[in-house]
């Protein structure tokens, strides 16, 4: 038997076709804030991760990005107010029923922490460095609430499509915050191999000589002289890196070319070393340039 409707299909009726609810009065500033607020949260969270895993460049980029995005957010939010000079009225009350009130407090706390964390990058030694870590972790703890409260803010309205989307909206906001933070850090962080290598001895002259030796070693055509130079470098703690047969790792090796193979065990391993890498007492000075086995296309 064919299904049949038990109620007539709904038809929109209203007073001369006018909408029943009012459209939001927020301008483009709020759309821009939704992006910059997410960016600040994503960057701060990743900066804390970088801090705890010893990635200094990534940490610096994340902290500075978080403060920059926060500054932009503050501008957009205040600029959209009907009475911008009364922005501080946002901090008159604490109201859990108002996502905007909760957001104002989250943003204020996040801003203080992100500000200290970014400032510590300018004076990175001693006490300030410790305060920087504490502030960075505080900002990271506030980052997920900062990224997701905006979803509650939009859903907590009578605007039908926003309200109905409340179960999914915070996940979209959290995801886009993390994605935009990560994207910005990829743009700003330099690849590992071009980071200035730390010279453990703290001896700048020694570093200059080592770099010069490597420069000469690359240009030598005599195998005997090259071997002699490698021995000398070895004596002062600089070792050559020739990872033939190891698995290719782009964070430690530079791919110079590929070699086709049908042996699936070899795929992804290093076939030959075109130019050796150098490590100074375990710290990579320069990655080796290698040829990698690649699956032969049938």
């Amino acid at each position: 038997m064919k299904e049949r409707r038990m109620v007539p299909s709904a038809e929109f009726r209203s007073y001369y076709g006018r909408p029943v609810v009012k459209a939001p009065v927020w301008r483009h500033d709020i759309a821009a804030y939704l992006f910059t607020g997410g960016l600040a949260a994503g960057s701060a969270l990743l900066a804390a991760g970088a801090d705890l895993t010893g990635r200094r460049g990534l940490r610096r980029a994340g902290r500075v990005a978080a403060l920059g995005a926060l500054g932009a957010s503050t501008y957009f939010l205040i600029n959209d107010l009907g009475r911008p000079e009364r922005f501080h009225h946002m901090l008159r009350v604490v109201k859990p029923t108002s996502p905007m009130s909760m957001g104002s407090w989250i943003l204020t706390a996040f801003g203080s922490a992100a500000g200290v964390a970014a400032a510590s990058e300018l004076v990175p030694r001693g006490f300030v460095g410790t305060a920087g870590r504490a502030a960075g972790l505080a900002a990271a703890a506030l980052a997920p609430p900062l990224a997701t409260y905006t979803a509650v803010l939009l859903a907590d309205t009578a605007t039908p499509s926003w309200h109905e989307a409340y179960p999914e909206l915070p996940f979209i906001f959290a995801g886009s915050a993390l994605a935009s933070g990560a994207a910005l850090l990829i743009l700003t962080a330099r690849p590992a191999r071009t980071e200035p290598a730390a010279v453990p001895a703290g001896d700048a002259d020694r570093g200059t000589l080592v770099q010069l030796c490597i420069y000469l070693r690359d240009r030598l055509t005599s195998t005997a002289l090259a071997t002699r130079l490698d021995q000398a470098l070895n004596q002062v703690g600089v070792s050559t890196v020739e990872p033939t047969g190891e698995r290719f790792d782009p964070s430690h090796h530079e791919a110079g070319g590929t070699l086709p193979t049908t042996d699936s065990k070899l795929v992804g391993t290093i076939a030959t070393v075109e130019a050796p890498g150098y490590a100074d007492r375990g710290v990579l000075l320069r990655p080796p340039v290698v040829t990698v086995y690649q699956r032969r296309q049938a």
Partner: protein
Amino acid sequence: MAERMGFFTDTSVCIGCKACEVACKEWNGVPDDGFNLLGMSYDNTGGLDANSWRHVAFIEQPAAARPAPAAEQPDFRWLMMSDVCKHCTHAACLDVCPTGALFRTEFDTVVVQEDICNGCGYCIPACPYGVIDQRKGDGRAWKCTMCYDRIGDGLMPACATACPTESIQYGPLDELRARASQRVADLQSDGARLYGADPDNGVGGTHAFFLLLDEPEVYGLPPDPVVTTRDLPKMWRKAGLAALAMAGAAVAAFLGASR
């Protein structure tokens, strides 16, 4: 707290004189909202907004739409209704206001404090009736105060005072509800119904309620309004889950990364 006060607007006796609109503007010093020809029957106000706190709707309805047209009746009828802020028991505008500018008075009505409002605009999409609005050039949100400055002194609100047919009645909410249920019983055969008087509706009943002669949609009223903050605990829970997922994703990214 003083007694709960309210408006009972009986649209069956409204004659569309707009005295309420005028009295409201005069007493409250509400600026004009443009002198536009809207082409909507005799209505050039359009609807409630920052500069119109009472709005008289004019609906010209063909006789065919009437429940039981009698022989000696014209081929159409007027539906007129003076709309106003509903002063909800569970008011979304008040719930979402981040500054505390919106507050509940001792009469259980909802009023904006103009010296606190910073024009964030959150109350505007929160209202399920589309009442409160931002005033252009001023930036703040405005709506009916139920003449807070009159009723505190024992006076009636300006609109109710000016209404020549007692379509707008002001008084203690309980009294008004009792009067309204008697009136709706009398007008049963004309398709009369009460709108907003039920304390169990989605906004906990409204302090301004209406006797209507047709479906609420015809007057531009939502048939089943719900205070958006009813779902707020569920929203915060979802956001908390999303926040945890975000933190978890970041932790996983760093733990899974090879040095």
